[in-house]
Amino acid sequence: MEALRMTNISKNFGQVKALNRAEIVVNKGEIHSLLGENGAGKTTLMKILYGIHQEDEGQIFLNGQKVTISSPKEAISLGINMVFQHFMLIPNLTVMENIILGKEEAKMGVLSYGESRKKVMELSERLGLKIRPDMKVEDIPVGEKQRVEIIKALFRGAEILILDEPTAVLTPQEVTELFKVLKALKAENKTIIIITHKLKETMAIADNVTVLRNGKTQGVIEAKKATPEILAQMMVGRSVMLEVEKDKVEKGQVILEAKNLSLGNNLKNISFKLHEGEILGFAGVEGNGQTELLETLVGLQMPTSGDILYNKQNIINHSVKERLIMGIGFIPEDRNDRGLISNFNIWQNCILGYQDRYQKNGILNLSAIYKESKKLVDRYQIKTEGIFSPTSSLSGGNAQKLLVGRVFYHSPQVLIIAHPTRGVDVGAIEYLHQEILAMRAQGKAIILVSADLDEIKQLSDRIAVLYEGSIVVEGSAHSFSEEELGIYMAGGALKESKVVGS
C-alpha cells in the first residue's frame, strides 16, 4: 500500500532551483532511502513534507489523500516526524522531559509523568531503543540522543519517520544498532525514509531507493537490484570509481615523529612515527582528540608535554608559520572555519599562508599571484568563473578543492589533512582521493583524520585509533576489519593492545 506520494514538487530559493518537479513514492511499512549528493534537494524535499518549507508547485498525497502541510505541527498531527542531523533536543532537560515535551500531561497544572513514562519505557523496550530516562540530554552520547529523538517521534504517534543522515555521527556499532531498530519499526509497519548520500548503508538497509540529482528525481530502484556503481552513476550522472587504486610506494625515512604528546585532558601520551611516502590514518569518533592532535602538530596549540620531531629536529617551539615554511602543510577540518576566508575572493585564498612567496619588499606581486592562482585553479579543477570571483560562490566540493589545492600546490613535505572530503559530492571525493594518493606517490608523508572509516581504510597505509585522547591501537591498515576498528573507536572490549606489522 502506498503511504506517501509527492509529485511534481518544485521549490525555488531566490534564484536557486532547489527542486525541479521532484517525485517520491513510498510504500507503507518500507524503509526508503532518499539518495543524492549534497545540494541535490533531498533535505529540502523532506522539509516540505515536514511542513518547514512550502512547495512552489506539486502535490502531496498521504495514504491516497491529497494533503497540504503548512507547518511541522500539522505534519506531526498527520503522523509525519523528522529527526534532523542536528538534534533538536534541549540539553539541560532530562531525556524523559525532552520526549514528552509538547505532549505533557498535567493534573491540576502539575506535570504528571505516570502514563507517559510507562508508554515511553514500553516503546523503548519493545524496539530495543536503549535510553536512560532521567539523565540530562547534555550528558548522554550522540547515539543515545538519536534514540531519544526516535522515541520522541514515535511517542508523538509517528507513522512516517524521516531520518536526515542518521549515521553521520555514529560509530559502526551504533549504526548496526540503529539498523536493528529500524527493522523493528518496519516490522511494526512504520514507514521510514532515510536521507543519505552513503551508498553502502542504502544497500544495507533500504527496500527501495529514490535518487535525486539537481533537484530532479533520477529514478527509483529496488535496493536488491542496485549495485553501488549503479547508484553512484545515478547520483553523479557519470560512472564513478568508488574504490581507489593504491599503488605500492616505497616507504622512506621517518620525517615526523610525535613523542608522548599530551594536552590537558584532550591528548594523552600520543607517540607515532610518520615515514615519507606513507599515509597514517587516525580513526575515531569525533571529539576524541583529533582536532587537538592536528592543531598541536601544526603549532596552533601548545602541548602540555611531549615533543614533535621534524627531520629529527624538535619543532615544539616553532610557530605555525615556521612549521609551514619548513614544509608542513595543513588542511583543517572545517574549510569555513580555519580553512578558507569566505569573503575573500579566490586568488586571495589561493595564497593564504603562502603570501610571503608572492611579495617583494612587503608589496604583493599581483601579476605573479594572478598567474599562479589561475594555474592552481586549473590544476585542481576548481569550477569557478575566475580567480576574482568570491570564494563564497564556490560549491562545497570546489571550495574543498581550493583548500586542498592551495596546500598541495605549494609543495609541502608533510601533509596534515582532516576530513578531506566532508560535505563534498561523490565526484569530488574521487578526485580528492586521487590527489592525496598522488602526493603519497611523490613521497610526501601524510597524516589523515577522517570520520569516514571507508576513507581511512582505503587511503591509509597504517591506522591508529584515537579514543579519549589516547592511541588505543595502531597497525597496518589491512590488519583491521571494520568491526574491529568500530570496537576500538567505541573504547570497547578488545583493549589489549595489538601490534601488527609496522
Binding site: 572555519d337 595564497i351 603570501q355 612587503g362 599581483l366
Partner: protein, 346 residues
C-alpha cells in the same frame, strides 16, 4: 550589477533618513523643504560654502580612515576621539615649544608626534585585548575619557598659554600646515588627508601586511591556521588606526586652530565611526562619506545663519542618517568585533 544595487540601496536609505528627519522638523513647525534647500544649497552653491564643507570634512577623513583601518582587521576602534585629542596636544606641544628649525623638519616632527602618540594610545587597547582578551570596544571607549581629561589637565596646568582660555601657545610658523589662500580656513591638511586615503588603500590592498590584516579581520581562525600572527596584526592595526586619528588631531591643530584648544573637537572621533561605516570601511568610501558629513556640518552652519531653524536640526539629520544608513552595518561590525575578540586567544 551588484554595485548598482548597493548604491541604490544606499541612496534609498539616505532618502528615508531625510524623510524621517523632515517629519520631525515639520512637526516642530518648520518647513523641511526650506531647511534642506538652505542647508544643501548653502553648502555647495558658492565657494565659501564649498570651502567650509571641505574644512569640516578634513578631520573626518582622518578619523574615518582610522576606524575603517581597524575595522579591516576586525577591530572596532571606538576610541578615535581620545586618540585625536592626544595627537592634537602632542602636535600642539611640539609645534609650539621646540626650538626653531627648518619648516619641513618641524612640521614632520609635529605630525609624526601626533601620529605616534595617537598610535601608542590605541595600542594600550590592543595590548589589553591581546594579553587579557579584553573587549576593545569597552577599552577604547573608556580610554576616550582618560585621554580627554588628560589633555584638559595638560592644557590647563602644564602647557597653558597666558590668558583666560585653556589653550597651548600658538604653533610656530615652521610647524604649521599652510593655508590654501588668504581668508580661507582650508589648509594643506586636506591634501594630507587625501594622500592618506591612497596610502591606506595601498597598504590594505597592495602590501603583504595589509593582506594579513584583512585576513585576520575576515577570519582570525583561518588566519592563525595560515601562520599569520593574529595578535601581532591586531596590535599593528590598532596602532596604525590610532596614528591616523592622532594625525587628524595634529592636522586640526597645525592647519586650522594653530594651537591646541580645550574642547576643540565636536566629536570628530565619534563621527569617524559613522563615516567609516557609511564608506563601507574602504578608504575611497571613507573619502566620499567624509565629504558628505562635512557638507552637512557646513550646511548646518548656513542654516543657522540664514534661517530661524535651530542648528540642532543638523544633528537630527545626522542621527537619522546614522540610524538609517549606517546602523545596520555598525551592528554587524560590532558583532564581528566581539566575535573577533573572543577568538584572539585561539
Amino acid at each position: 550589477m551588484k554595485f548598482w544595487k548597493k548604491a541604490a540601496n544606499l541612496v534609498l536609505r539616505f532618502v528615508l533618513a531625510l524623510v524621517a528627519s523632515g517629519i520631525i522638523l515639520y512637526l516642530s513647525g518648520y518647513s523641511p523643504l526650506k531647511a534642506y534647500k538652505a542647508m544643501f544649497w548653502g553648502a555647495i552653491s558658492n565657494w565659501d560654502g564649498i570651502a567650509l564643507s571641505l574644512v569640516q570634512a578634513t578631520p573626518l577623513i582622518f578619523t574615518g580612515l582610522a576606524v575603517a583601518f581597524a575595522n579591516n582587521c576586525g577591530i572596532f576602534n571606538i576610541g578615535g576621539e581620545g586618540q585625536l585629542y592626544l595627537g592634537a596636544i602632542a602636535a600642539g606641544i611640539i609645534g609650539a615649544f621646540l626650538p626653531s628649525m627648518p619648516h619641513f623638519l618641524h612640521l614632520f616632527l609635529a605630525l609624526a608626534g601626533g601620529a605616534v602618540v595617537g598610535g601608542l594610545w590605541a595600542s594600550i587597547a590592543a595590548w589589553l585585548k591581546v594579553k587579557a582578551n579584553a573587549n576593545e570596544v569597552i577599552i577604547t571607549i573608556m580610554l576616550n575619557n582618560i585621554s580627554i581629561l588628560l589633555c584638559s589637565y595638560l592644557v590647563n596646568y602644564v602647557f597653558k598659554a597666558p590668558g583666560p582660555v585653556p589653550q597651548t601657545p600658538e604653533v610656530q610658523p615652521s610647524a604649521s600646515l599652510s593655508r590654501l589662500g588668504t581668508g580661507t580656513q582650508l589648509s594643506t591638511a586636506l591634501f594630507l588627508g587625501v594622500l592618506l586615503v591612497f596610502a591606506v588603500w595601498f597598504i590594505l590592498y597592495r602590501t603583504k601586511v595589509g593582506y594579513e590584516i584583512r585576513a585576520v579581520g575576515a577570519n582570525p581562525r583561518a588566519a592563525a591556521a595560515a601562520g599569520i600572527n593574529v595578535p601581532g596584526m591586531m596590535t599593528l592595526a590598532l596602532f596604525l588606526s590610532g596614528s591616523l586619528a592622532g594625525l587628524g588631531g595634529a592636522s586640526q591643530v597645525l592647519g586650522l586652530h594653530g594651537r591646541f584648544i580645550q574642547g576643540f573637537s565636536p566629536g570628530y572621533g565619534f563621527d569617524g565611526i559613522a563615516v567609516a561605516i557609511l564608506g563601507g570601511n574602504s578608504p575611497i568610501g571613507v573619502l566620499f562619506s567624509a565629504l558628505l558629513f562635512g557638507l552637512m556640518r557646513a550646511g548646518g552652519m548656513v542654516l543657522d545663519r540664514t534661517t530661524k531653524i535651530p542648528v540642532d536640526f543638523v544633528l537630527i539629520i545626522q542621527a537619522a542618517i546614522i540610524l538609517f544608513v549606517a546602523a545596520p552595518d555598525i551592528f554587524k561590525s560590532l558583532k564581528g568585533g566581539v566575535k573577533g575578540a573572543r577568538s584572539v586567544a585561539k
